[in-house]
Point group: C2
Chain length 207, copies 2
C-alpha cells in the first residue's frame, strides 16, 4: 500500500494518538471512539477523523476504532514497526534526560551511539552505550545510523548539524534552542522548551 | 480589545512564530513576508495567515509583516507581555535542563520556585532559587504562583499534579511521559519526548 504525503501537523499528532492507544490497550480496552480518543489527547474529534482520513478508513460508526489495528497502522505509517537506531550528540542534563526517557523503544527508537565533546565523559558508559568523542561522528555513515538528536549548547548546534549531515544523517531532532541550517533533503524537527512553556499563560487567569 | 477563543493548535504555533520574529529582529530585519516566516518555522504560508486571522489584520501585501508590531501583538495575546512566575517540580536531569534553558524570560516566564523530594537537593541553590521540599508546594497559593512545570518520574506525576491543583495552580506543563488527570478548569500541556522522536523516521529513507 502507498500513502499520499501526510501533512507535517498530522505526522506530529500521530505519535500522540499512538501513545494514547497503547495506554488504552494497556488498560485492557479493545476499542475507542474518536470522541474518547480526542478527549484523551486534547484535540477535536473532527481533527482525529481528518488525520486518519489521510491513510484510509478506520472505525465503525457506534463501535469506534479497533485499538490494536489502528496502533499497528499508525506504527507502519510512521515507520516505527521496525526499530531504528539513532545517535545522540551532547550528554549534558538534557541529553541524559533523553537517554533515560522511558518508552523510546516502544516508539521504535533505539539510541545506539552517544557523543560528547567533554574528555571526562568520553569512554564512560550510559546504559549499554559508551560515550564517544564527537570527532567520531563521521563513523555514523558506515554504522548505518541516519537519525540523530542534537542536545548540545546552542552555539555548537550548527557545527554538529553539519557534521551529522556529512555523515549521512537524514533526520535530526534539534533540542538546542536555535535554528540550524541543513540541506533541504535533511528533515529537522526543532523542539523548543521555551516555546512550549510560552503556551501556558494564555490559558491561565491573570493574577 | 477582546479576542475570540483561539484554537489550541494556533496557540501552539504562536510562540514558534514569536521565536522566529525575535530572531529576525535580532538579525536587523524590520519586516518579513508570510512566505519567509513560513519557510523559517516550517509551516505553510496559508497556515500562518489563518493563524493570524484569529486576532486581526496584519501585513501589507508586497511588504509583509512589521516584525516589531507583530511580535508585540503575539506577546499580548499569549499574555507574555508581563513576566509570569512559574514553579518547577523535580530537579533531575530534565528539571535541571529546563532551569538552564535559555530565553525563558524572553518568553515572559521566570521560574521562581523549585521543588524536589530528595533531601540532599533541598536547600541547594540553582541560580538564585533555593530548592524546597515538595511538602511546601501548598505555599504556591500565597506566593501567587499559578503556573507549574512537572519534571518528576512518571509514577510521581499524578500526586504532584494533585498537590499543585490544591495549591491553586491553573496551568501545568507536564514532562513526565504519562497522562495526568486534573479538574477541567486546569490546563495541562503534555510534552512527550518519545512522541517527538517518533515523528522523525517518517521523513527518512529506510536503510
Amino acid at each position: 500500500m502507498r500513502y499520499h504525503r501526510i501533512p507535517d501537523e498530522t505526522v506530529r499528532r500521530l505519535p500522540i494518538y499512538l501513545r494514547a492507544l497503547l495506554f488504552a490497550a494497556d488498560q485492557g480496552q479493545e476499542s475507542i471512539s474518536s470522541r474518547d480518543l480526542a478527549d484523551f489527547v486534547g484535540v477535536n474529534p473532527w481533527q482525529i477523523r481528518k488525520d486518519f482520513s489521510y491513510f484510509g478508513e478506520f472505525g465503525t460508526r457506534g463501535v469506534g476504532y479497533d485499538i490494536y489495528e489502528l496502533a499497528q497502522q499508525i506504527k507502519k505509517i510512521l515507520k516505527l514497526d521496525v526499530t531504528k537506531q539513532a545517535a545522540l550528540v551532547g550528554v549534558g542534563n538534557l541529553g541524559s534526560a533523553i537517554l533515560a526517557y522511558p518508552d523510546l523503544r516502544m516508539f521504535g527508537l533505539d539510541i545506539t551511539a552517544v557523543f560528547d565533546v567533554n574528555p571526562r565523559k568520553i569512554g564512560r558508559k550510559v546504559g549499554d552505550v559508551e560515550i564517544e568523542s564527537v570527532s567520531r561522528l563521521r563513523t555514523l555513515e558506515r554504522r548505518k545510523i541516519n537519525l540523530a538528536i542534537i542536545a548540545v549548547p546552542r552555539n555548537a548546534a550548527q557545527k554538529v548539524a553539519e557534521a551529522l549531515v556529512r555523515a549521512g544523517v537524514m533526520g535530526i531532532l534539534n533540542f538546542s534552542a536555535c535554528y540550524i541550517t541543513v540541506p533541504r533533503r535533511v528533515k529537522v524537527i526543532t523542539i523548543d522548551i521555551a516555546t512550549d512553556l510560552a503556551r501556558l499563560p494564555y490559558y491561565v487567569p491573570t493574577r
